[in-house]
Amino acid sequence: MDITSIEGRFTKLGNLWAENGIQVNLFEDKSRASSFELLTNLFRLLDNTSEIFDQLKLTLSHLHWDLRGFVGTSKDSSSRWGESEVKLKTELARVKNNLPLEAQEIAVRLLESLTLLKNEDSSYSQKLESQLLGDDHIILVTEKPRLSGAVSNFVDSLDTSNFVSVISLSTLVRFEVPNGSKVIILAAPRKISNNFMRVLALGAPVGSLTFIAPNWLAGMTPQKITQDLASGLPGVKKPIMRVSGPIFSHEMTAKEVEQFEETYLLSQEQSYKKYSSHGDVKCRLLHLAGGFVMPIEIGATRISVLAQNAYGNLEVKSKKPFTDLENGDIIFDLRNGVDDTFLTELAEARMGVNFAEYSHIRGIMKKRLKQIIQENGRQATIEKLLRSKVSTARYVDDWLNNQDFTTLRSKADWHNLLVFLKFSAAEVKRFEDLGTELRSTLISIGASARLQMAESVSARELEMVLEGQIVTKKLDDYGDADFVIGLVTGIDDNESLCEQDDIRKVMEG
């Protein structure tokens, strides 16, 4: 047991609540402020009752996030705002006849402001660069995972000697920050959700932290934590934040955008993907109560089930899915594939510098593979790979497109692929070692999730599962990731087909 880590958590809490535990560094960014104001004004004018604007709203919502937290190199920045401009133009053209005149006028001005950003948008990146001096290990935290890539590229483009990790807020609140790391959150404190702010202020994953935000986003009282940290409890104390930089002259809110996101994204999250037999991965379907299915890969050797021991305590056991699993067994897994990213982020946080090295080599690997495909064509590359004894070559697109690609499942295939891509013997060995470390970290994260699952299921939930309902659960240490627990009602004897990403995901049957 890591006693120092437990001890450290209370020390961090004490430090965070001390003077200067939380700092807010503000800066001016008039161009983005203007774009943001136009965006929120336009959003307000869109009819809430008509679905015709949903796509436009989604585009504006993405743009709103970029304005809040995108930081990139000048090239990335130009291309991001350029893409946003094109996308917005397309959406506006689609709904033009339904847009009120006032909205049309604002839309034109918003497009103009994006053109300006495309040409010049350096306030945020300059501010960030100025903060990356002096500390050996810096953890940059973005509000959304989709903002992390550009920030990483930006950091890579700088000639900094320190080690900088880029993670999302949801990862920060789940992992143990190494002592001595400087944590910078690229967000305005008041924009952080209640849930996240509660973890930051009362849960202290770090002993000190700095927010960097444009002043227009931080509001007129940036020193106050405005979130309701404990709804229903009187007299909740909050730490004080120390603010530096200019304070904005008036309030700017984006309530409509945030509300749309909450309802729209929630409705997306709540549905299960429908199983269809498209795809080229062979599987067998596990049928679960409630009409759900879970595609299991052919050759699968283990699946986790929850079982009660002699004293009524729940335990996790492993069964062979096609020979030992029986109707009435209780299985559990992540609810959908999107959540895989969070596992990788946790692994990244745990592996630290080794993940950075792994990620770097993975980038080279993908680049070389893409180059070969460009030169020879996809089919010819697959044939070459097959001749080089990479038996799973037909999945080459998955390897390239999967952001969280780890290693090939077969060790021999993995080795042969790296040799094929002309890595030196030492590099092959290093990448194999790092890949093994990553896989075993992922396995260990999964194992501790399974243990936590067994210990957090209540008797009532167990009863619901046994009655044939699917129960979804969040685990204390796994953030927003949903796990499902379901009762096995049958296993197909015949093989089916599915997409690679569908394997071991609960789907509507």
Partner: protein, 353 residues
């Protein structure tokens, strides 16, 4: 303050920070408050992570129960045992191979008694499904009046809910019997018995037992208990906190227990009767709060909720479920002042009575 822990096998002891002592002290203060008639009903503590916190509370409750000398097991003479009694039979100390074995115990309901001039034979029943067994005790081995722990069998009347089980391991009974190095004087034996055989159900914890048991395995040094009373150099937190499990009782004492969330007792079962004896219950972590805060069995107990604000999942559900029942009671405005207790920096707590 001198509380030290280390992983078994580590060389270095680690002095725990004031936060640990603070929870230890909270438990002692709550125990004391109850003794003096302050009936708190709900306490919510917002803290980053609950690891080691419920064990710290258990240590505090264990020490308080010992120091106040509360003992619910009452001496019973062999001849006074009646059918229907729930009794504990405690053997004498055994000394061999350089070790003294702390007396083992059997707890069962007396369903019939047969007598001979020299002895009484009790038929004892245990939990449903477990066969009754006979225990014959000679008057010679349990004479009337004061008994010598080194050679006499002792019988005690124990409160209902005391876990019933045989004194021998096997057939599903997993016992943990302690042995201590010789020499052990008679007065030391009596001290050990007051510690190891205390029947004073105090604190029940529901949560993630694996993590709690991991904490329990840590070696621990409490200068007062280990240095002053038991004359041990160290002990595990599990032993020092006198923890056991509700569903599978392994130790002679009946003081503190931990249990999985899914094993929370169903009403009108023997385990529910056992839980009924505990005045203090801890719901350790958000999952425990979400799932158990509204359990009717907890209505009249002092429930301590450990709300893990360092874990993102279930935060709001944990808080709202806890508040649903807590707000039926009257909020205590200055809990910390009333208890004369200072929480660790950044940790907040609320109380209802």
């Amino acid at each position: 303050l001198g509380y030290q822990v280390k992983n078994a096998g580590d060389q270095e002891w680690l002095e725990l920070g004031a936060w640990f002592y603070s929870f230890f002290e909270l438990a002692e203060k709550l125990y004391q408050a109850k003794k003096f008639g302050h009936y708190y009903k709900r306490i919510l503590i917002a803290l980053p992570k609950s690891d080691l916190v419920s064990p710290a509370l258990a240590l505090g409750f264990s020490r308080a129960a010992y120091k106040f000398g509360d003992e619910l097991a009452k001496n019973l003479e062999l001849g006074d045992v009646k059918v229907g009694d729930l009794i504990q039979i405690r053997s004498a100390w055994i000394e061999q191979h350089g070790l003294a074995t702390i007396p083992n115990t059997v707890v069962g309901n007396v369903v019939s008694i047969t007598e001979t001039p020299e002895s009484r034979n009790f038929e004892l029943s245990f939990v449903a499904g477990k066969a009754n067994t006979q225990r014959a005790i000679r008057s010679l081995d349990s004479p009337i009046g004061e008994k010598n722990p080194e050679k006499h069998i002792r019988i005690y009347d124990v409160p209902k809910g005391t876990p019933r089980r045989e004194e021998l391991a096997g057939k599903g009974v997993l016992l943990e019997i302690r042995k201590i190095p010789l020499p052990v004087s008679l007065s030391q034996k009596q001290t050990w018995e007051r510690w190891e055989h205390q029947i004073c159900p105090t604190f029940a914890v529901f949560g993630q037992t694996t993590s709690m048991k991991e904490c329990g395995l840590l070696e621990f040094r409490d200068p007062e208990i280990h240095g002053g009373i038991l004359t041990l150099e160290k002990d595990s937190i599990y032993n020092a906190a006198r923890l056991d499990t509700l569903t599978n009782d392994k130790k002679a004492h009946f003081v503190n227990v931990i249990e999985q969330i899914s094993s929370f007792p169903i009403r009108n079962t023997p385990t529910a009767e056992t839980l009924g004896q505990f005045p203090f219950v801890c719901l350790d972590g958000n999952a425990a709060l979400v799932n158990l805060a509204d359990e009717i069995i907890l209505r009249d107990k002092l429930v301590i909720g450990l709300w893990e604000t360092g874990s993102q999942a279930n935060q709001e559900a944990a808080l709202s479920t806890f508040l649903e029942t807590a707000t039926r009671f009257k909020q205590v405005t200055k809990l910390e002042e009333q208890l004369n207790w200072k929480p660790p920096s950044g940790v907040q707590c609320w109380g209802w009575s």
